[in-house]
Chain length 300, copies 2
């Protein structure tokens, strides 16, 4: 008797064999990379993957390469036991984990880190905003995600709009390296408006209340956009005004053209816009993003 | 043995005697008129009254004079049993209720309504917004509140900023009739940002999610204000843009000078501003207001 019909592998080798088997049968494979501590936001990605592919696999790996602050890595929530159930309920067929040494055999340094020559270039979308506040972060993301693409060879890979700049980095990486089609899914929000994030569990009650100002700021910018405002400075200004009402340390609140990424806010009338915010509520760093120019399915 | 130390009276006569006794001892009397279905917002008013007065009394009366729609009157939540405990916990000394006939002895018509000559003029602040969407509402509010002032002779009376226009109407009434000092208290918000309201209990889950857009719109307008925007049209425009993202039927979303009330939005740079919204989420009518120019203690 099996409690779960989902396959769970502790090593990448088994996962690689499973994926090879799927593809050899001519089946499409959807891939959702995660760092565990799964929540409804991940389930939305898995559901989307299950709707568009014959098989879905999920990686559960807290990638040390993308954590600049060791404290953030140490405190990143882990609940591997709860993860499999959530994945199965959302339509996932296989989940796997592994260690950095297993994902990069023979490529680690004596200190346990990856040898620098195997780090991937995160490309032009890694500039500014997250790239500025988390130096090396996107290099770490690109390196692990590029490695997953290389060994699993998925048909499509799924990322959330909440981490919009990351989705741009990964999409660019996939295009440059012949990787999968990258699908960016709408942000899944809690009924309060806050984007689902594993970090939310680390927020105190007052920290959570402050965190709500990120989505409030995005709704405000989108409200201005809907009223015809097309100037990046005006759009980011209202976000800063909203964020100032919360007990937050704002790192950035900015607007970019999602197709013509630039190191600073574009001048002149925008045709498309994405609003991007990062702020700290106490010790917890929160980010949230919203496409202003596309329909945004709100929390559901 | 008494379970509650608060006095509860079923008729206005007892309440009037209690208040007369308080005042004859030279004690100050704070008064909080309510329609029952009490929540933390009311408790905030009672706490404020208890902090500023020797004694606090609360009326619990679902005033038929102020309900234009009989369905709204019928479905207005009632929980008189739960109310006394909340009042005592907040520092209230006396609560009373009564019937329209008891509050206006000998002044009712055959159909049970008040004879028109006893309805009070709600004054100039009743114009537009609530006055437009709820014809007769402020006349009903002024009439019952004016009657309470007349028979209880409180030192101070307490109202919430959430119903800002009502507070203006009552303040004007008190000044015209030699009534109490009217104290307008900051809006008490749920952690989600929605203002505490008895009507919130009638919202479905999705209705509540839509209702959150009222406070989001107010935070957006206040965000613009904090960034230096002083034009009423620009401030109300962002509110309409935010509200458009929710499943709401907006009645009004407007900005006024709280000291120079006008039937339409002021032109030119404002020195003080209050933002006012009324919208229906399904069958539930919600209103929320925020002073843009004053410090707004957010949810706590």
């Amino acid at each position: 008797m099996r409690l779960l019909s989902i396959e769970c592998f502790d090593t990448p080798d088994e996962a690689v064999r499973w994926c090879r088997d799927v593809r050899s049968q001519g089946l499409s494979l959807g891939f959702v990379p995660t760092m565990g501590a799964l929540h409804e936001g991940h389930q939305t990605l898995v559901r989307q993957a299950a709707a568009q592919n014959d098989r879905v696999c999920v990686s559960i790996f807290v990638n040390p390469l993308q954590f600049g602050e060791s404290r953030d890595l140490e405190t990143y929530p882990r609940d591997f036991d709860g993860d499999a159930k959530l994945l199965e309920a959302a339509g996932c067929h296989m989940a796997f984990t592994g260690t950095l040494a297993e994902f990069f055999p023979g490529r680690l340094q004596a200190d346990g880190g990856l040898q620098p020559e195997f780090m991937l270039d995160p490309g032009p979308f890694a500039e500014s905003l997250e790239g500025e506040y988390r130096p090396g972060h996107f290099e770490g993301v690109a390196t692990i995600v590029g490695r997953f693409f290389e060994i699993l060879k998925p048909t499509r890979a799924y990322f959330g709009q909440k981490d919009y700049q990351q989705a741009l980095v990964v999409d660019d990486l996939a295009r440059r390296t012949g990787g999968p089609e990258v699908v960016v899914c709408p942000t899944h929000r809690e009924p309060t408006g806050i984007a689902f994030s594993s970090r939310n569990t680390r927020l105190s009650e007052s920290g959570y209340a402050a965190g709500l100002f990120l989505s409030r700021a995005l709704f405000a910018a989108r409200g201005l956009w809907l009223q015809g405002e097309r100037d990046a400075q005006a759009l980011s200004s209202v976000m800063r005004g909203v964020l100032a009402q919360g007990d937050l340390t704002v790192e950035y609140a900015s607007v970019r053209d999602p197709r013509k990424w630039s190191g600073s806010e574009p001048k002149g009338a925008m045709e498309r816009a994405v609003a991007l915010i990062a702020a700290r509520s106490g010790e917890v760093r929160l980010i949230d993003n919203m496409l202003l120019s596309d329909p945004e399915p709100c929390q559901d």
